[in-house]
Symmetry: C2
């Protein structure tokens, strides 16, 4: 199911700058019992991305209506929202008047085994690095070749996620998730000021930590810190929180802090429906 600029179409003009240059942003939203969860937060991040990329954001009332329209008959699904700079301009130069393209698409919720969340997943370190560019850091833009190349490094279905380092050897995030470390009762997550995507669930987890007075540190993280963690997990809007039980040769237990945060996330999700 698709809504392209409000119409049931799924074919975009090749002149759209989203196609030509990846000139746009997207949001990936969990739909549960007909509701797009944490949608106001997703819209807020989209608005920040539009501001950073100089794309005029369409009226959020339009987004809310279309999101509801697509979501209401789904018990569980994934709603994707894309906004591009539309067509026009000469080469990289943007058009004088920007008419953004907006696309909603509804997808089946992936059939992940329950044990990913309960027992944890296996992960690896990727060779492909994240490049550093503060202009593009944190926002969910459509230039995703680095993630594509990182994901292409493994076909082994027993590995669910790959962790990416930046070009200065800091561990930043997974190809499609954010990363958290628990060590000695403290929670750590890599800072995203130079690369990476600031996830909605990451934002929620950081708020939960404050609420339950779990000491939280947003800072650069190196491989040693990751491998020496007491607990390790990744997060995004579709998977929620997946503990990491195995990373390269190292094995991790699913710890109490991870479980606590999973519970808090589930409570927050239920409060949305």
């Amino acid at each position: 199911m698709f809504l392209l600029n409000g119409e049931h179409r799924h074919c975009v003009d090749v002149s759209d700058r989203g196609f030509q240059y990846g000139d746009g942003l997207f949001e990936t939203v969990e739909v549960l019992q007909g509701k797009p969860l944490f949608f106001d937060r997703h819209l807020k991040r989209l608005a920040e991305g539009c501001r950073r990329l100089l794309i005029p954001m369409p009226d959020s009332a339009l987004f809310e209506a279309e999101a509801r329209q697509l979501s209401e008959s789904s018990d569980r699904a994934v709603l994707k929202l894309m906004v591009t700079r539309g067509s026009g301009g000469r080469g990289y130069r943007q058009p004088d008047q920007i008419i953004p393209t907006r696309l909603f698409s509804l997808h089946p919720y992936p059939d992940y085994p329950q044990h990913f969340q309960v027992d944890g997943i296996a992960a690896r370190f990727c060779d492909q690095r994240l490049s550093l560019n503060p202009s593009l850091a944190g926002i969910k833009h459509m230039n995703r070749l680095e993630q594509i190349l990182a994901r292409a490094e493994w076909q082994d279905d027993s590995i669910q996620e790959g962790l990416m380092l930046d070009t200065q050897d800091r561990v930043v995030e997974g190809t499609m998730s954010n990363l958290f470390i628990v060590k000695s009762g403290n929670l750590y997550t890599p800072s995203l000021g130079q690369c990476g995507v600031a996830g909605i669930v990451r934002e929620l987890i950081m708020e939960f930590a404050q609420r339950i007075k779990l000491p939280l540190f947003e800072q650069p993280v190196d491989q040693a810190a990751v491998l020496q963690a007491d607990e390790l997990f990744v997060s995004n809007s579709v998977i929620g929180i997946w503990p990491i039980k195995r990373l390269e040769a190292r094995v991790f237990k699913v710890g109490v802090i991870t479980r606590r945060l999973q519970d808090l996330l589930n409570t927050a999700r239920m409060a949305e429906v």
Copy 2:
């Protein structure tokens, strides 16, 4: 005029990874008297890009036939060729079987004033940096937000190009061109091993230099070297060679080496038709 997978269509499915993630490559080719110029070189660069991005390149005979078909009735035009990874896969993960999308589009040749080539252009330094990532350096991929943000920095029509530095303060190229410096009878061009696009005309100029025994140095270049140049010019397949007559506060003459290279390029272009 468009040929999308061989058909006269200009609407692409929104599931195409070129739209979703900028997952693809492009070539911008000068058409002169019905001929796409230096097409074998463009195909060679495209093949290298496909190899680097793990996209199976469609048969080049197909490209040649379609390029000819679109170009033959144009006295002067710009032919754009795009290849994406097509649709499929889950998220960043590529499909097991990749069916690339190929798109040819023909565009009017831009109405640049003749004096850009004869007298030179005005340029500026951009604030937006090029990030460093060897995996993506040199190839003409579709993730172009950095160039878009750089170009958005100025609307002043009296400035034709912006020069971009990388995140380690090296001057690399223009937003849509490569950069050359002449100093004390030597030719310099920034190395592109960490970022930038290795242009076809840049490649030709480097061959001309060897042919006429003009000493050529491909190396890191800083702002001081650019501002202290005897001669300065930019190049791409559509503009050819544009001398820079003004860069920020500095003024440059159009020198004899620049003129020589423009002549050699024109001769090479004429030999193609």
